[in-house]
């Protein structure tokens, strides 16, 4: 807890602040204050604010996937049931995972043309996340013989639903819209996979 390095404390603080405020609106002084670290330590660990942002993004994606890559759904053999249980698992965890936003989404919006290295890393990190999702969704589509929608394309859409629902939840100051958005995606998946439900 208190043993973590200044570097990690800075990354944690940056993730927290940039998730809710974005990149530009988050100042280095705020980060070091929240991290409880001096500015010298910041610039010893990172060459620039931009380099910190990239490190924070990488750490965020890694930790984020670690939190959802092991759930009850992994025990399910049937690929369709497993995919649906996975989406349900994400829905259940969403309020905790993205309570104040998503770092990748928050940063991506404002760096498109100004910081090419950052947006390129975001591109790669989202791609990793989508591949992880696709590894769960693709077998379900294959089991139903669906070929006109790829697991990757559906994963990108799932990601869009999550990011977009974070925006509606934030804008309307109503966290439940996040869970509801994911529930709609789950419903879409059920209809796609033609799962019978008690009506």
């Amino acid at each position: 807890m208190s043993k973590q390095t200044a570097k990690q404390k800075v990354i944690d603080a940056a993730q927290q602040l940039m998730t809710s405020r974005g990149y530009s609106a988050t100042t280095v002084d705020e980060i070091v204050k929240l991290a409880g670290v001096a500015k010298g330590s910041f610039y010893h660990a990172f060459q620039s604010k931009e380099e910190l942002a990239i490190a924070a993004l990488e750490d965020y994606e890694e930790k984020g996937w670690a939190l959802v890559s092991n759930g009850p759904y992994v025990e399910i053999d049937d690929p369709v049931e497993r995919a649906l249980a996975f989406v349900q698992f994400i829905e259940d965890k969403s309020a905790d995972l993205w309570a104040h936003g998503c770092l990748l989404g928050s940063v991506s919006i404002e760096v498109a043309h100004s910081y090419p290295e950052v947006i390129q890393r975001i591109d790669e990190l989202f791609d990793e996340f989508e591949d992880n999702l696709a590894a769960i969704l693709t077998p379900a589509l294959e089991a139903r013989g669906i070929t006109d929608i790829t697991g990757k394309a559906l994963s990108i859409h799932f990601l869009a639903v999550i990011e977009g629902s974070i925006i509606t939840a934030k804008s309307h100051l109503n966290p439940s819209y996040l869970q509801q958005g994911i529930a709609h995606f789950k419903h879409y998946l059920e209809l796609l996979l033609a799962v019978d439900k008690a009506m």
Copy 2:
């Protein structure tokens, strides 16, 4: 063209810059430079950058809805067909409408706790847009006797799909993801309304 007031030129410039860069990363100097207007004129028209942002958001929502409120779909009598034609219309227009992002989405992410007046206005403007969407989606749901999903809830989800797809398109530097995201929503709507399609 050249007859528009300094105020409107500032609003146009602010919409353009804040859509792609967000609120904090857009400076007043950049805005007045793009608008071809002096800084004094800016502060003659607006009391602050924040007041400009609110004016730009209001103008954006108004113009945005005006661009989609009149399409071929309005001629269709059947509510189900009209709703689907509307979503198709949005899909067709999406690349033009949100080529560089959505101002409301871009600004909403970074103002949650720092600028309560701005986020409150975004809340209201999104709500207006959702009500406009709901006026088209609700009759389709009613025509199919669907009561467990309200038109408003589906509209919020539609908005989330749009905003989220803007993020995936921006992050992956691939504009077609926006159109693809909306196509998924259209597919979801077709399945919900149980529309028969040639397979």
